[in-house]
Amino acid sequence: MAINFSLIIPEMLVAGLALLVMIISLLVPKDQKRGLAYFTVFGLIGVLVVLYFMLDAQGTLFNGMYIVDPFGSFMKILIVLSSIMAIMLGVEYVEKFITGFLGEFCFFVVFATLGMITLVSAGDFITLYVALELMTISFIILVGFGKHIFRASEAAIKYLLLSALSSGVLLYGLTLVYGAAKTTSINGVMEYIAQGETAPILVLGIIFMISGFGFKISAVPFHMWTPDVYEGAPTPVTALLSVASKGAAFGVLFRVFMHALPGNQELWMPIIIVLTVLTIVLGNFVAIPQKNIKRMLAFSGVAQAGYILLGLIAFSTVGVSAALFYAMIYVFCNMGAFGVIIAFSQAGGGDEVQDYNGLWKRSPFLAAVMLASLLSLAGIPPLAGFFGKFQLFKAIMEQGYVWIVFVALGMSMVSVYYYLLVAKAMYFKDPHEDSPIKVSLPIQVTLLAITLITLFLGIYPTPLTNLATQVAKTFF
């Protein structure tokens, strides 16, 4: 059996990098770990370059156990990119608030990255499950290792218990599908469904799978963990959790439902539609009364997950490409917003919205980045989020779901309100103290890059849409 190892180079590189960073972090003196963080970032940038050149690669390994295709590579780029940004933004935060754990922070982020990039390429339920657990367990540790941080342990225990429950539900669903299809491979399940017979138990299996994945993407009604965990976790980890973990879960959700289960769409589509509408409506409305900015972003993330799910409902090339585009944009916007929160809390600021009063006077740069990120999340032109939402709505409209478009549009208006509440606090209220905030160089560079990309893709989105369209053809 000839194995084409060149297809899994990124995975091997990431695994090697994680182990290397782990070993080096034992050798480097405690107060000189910062170099290690930058070494990790450079390593991940190398992986990113490899992934970029692999975008066209297509093939399966080990009899369909592992699928490498443009869709997977796109999601991997998204994941690695967010890991890089999380480390860049988080270095000083971890040094300041979780002293002595910078090495651990770096290699657990890389391990989580490994879990996520194998998750989006999984071609078999067993690979899928092990990768999902690698991602989840790394995240549980990342959430809980900030022992000095108020509520980090509480958040970690909540995340541990609830994700164990959701893993159990997902696993039960996978076994039921296995019982019906008598295979764990995604291709095998597709062939079984193409034969046209649907065992009643398969329906139940699909429902369990939807709830399991729904937990990971924090779709309503499986979102209850999000605000608590986001609030309690160290902010760089929250940032990574909110974009990369969600992105990976979307990757595997799209792969399972568009690759393995397109044959019985009429069975699961109504469930997805109900979940999506609930997610968009509830996420946006519950975000309004939130006083804590991390909780507000958690609920906004719930709503954004609903928008990305619209791409699955559309079930077309346009829909998937719009969802991919939006997921990428979401990474930049959310990272921008969380980056500002990180920089602000390093300067001694709190996490309440009212703490951001008059941020404009204290640091025009941070206020501008926050404003751009939030407006992009709200979908206001000329920022990138507008174009992403526009495309998603267009894709849904083409499939004839006009009422969903109206709901989603209305909820977008609602979202503008709570995003602007933060803007109002930053620009129109008087600061509690006048001392200017100093932003360190790595955070400045990262935030500047994020804002420029958000602006650029809003004005000239063609490169990314072309890429997303090309990638979305994987499924059709």
Binding site: M1, I8, A15, A18, M22, L61, F62, N63, M65, Y66, T99, G100, F101, E104, F108, F111, L114, G115, T118, D124, I126, T127, Y129, V130, A131, E133, L134, I137, S138, I140, I141, G144, F145, K147, H148, A156, G179, A180, K182, A199, P200, I201, V203, L204
Partner: protein, 169 residues
């Protein structure tokens, strides 16, 4: 009735009975002991399915290691003499849980009974352990390696989280 059918019903009865005992016993230590019996019962069910390797793993890992962990956990965190009322102070939703579980069980068994299950007809291999080993290192090598990394992560993570905080200041 054939002997293995009788064995199946017997073992299933014991497994389900001890699983119910885990939930209904009022002392947490008794629950843990019943849980060990459940694990052993499942190993017995594997044996009736000719899955000898899996049965051995079940006994070693679950009845051996996992149950010891659970007993240790109970030893370290129990309050009082282990009555559920002291240990599980939030367990107030008895009747809600009963209704939800009954409904869930009803839906589940309805679908399971309605499904026309097809039995596998392929002949069983004599050497199950050898076949599993071969599969682990050929088709399933990616999940296998990933599981190795997962265990490393879990172990390092446990140390990182449990490590004493040195400079509280």
């Amino acid at each position: 009735m054939e002997l293995h059918v009788i064995a199946f019903w017997l073992i299933a009865f014991v497994t389900l009975g001890s699983a119910l005992a885990v939930v209904f016993l009022t002392n947490i230590v008794h629950s843990a002991l019943a849980l060990i019996l459940t694990f052993l019962g499942i190993a017995g069910l594997y044996l009736t399915l000719n899955a000898d390797f899996l049965a051995a793993v079940q006994v070693l890992v679950y009845a051996g290691a996992v149950s010891i962990l659970i007993v240790f956990g109970i030893m370290l965190i129990t309050r009082g003499d282990g009555r559920m009322a002291d240990t599980n102070i939030f367990g107030k939703y008895k009747y809600t849980a009963a209704i939800v579980i009954t409904a869930f069980l009803g839906v589940l068994s309805h679908y399971i009974i309605k499904t026309p299950w097809q039995m596998g007809t392929a002949a069983l291999s004599e050497n199950t352990m050898g076949d599993i080993a071969e599969l682990l290192f050929s088709d399933y090598v990616i999940p296998f390696e990933l599981a190795a990394i997962l265990l490393t992560v879990a172990m390092v993570g446990a140390i990182v989280i449990a490590r004493e905080v040195k400079n509280p200041k």
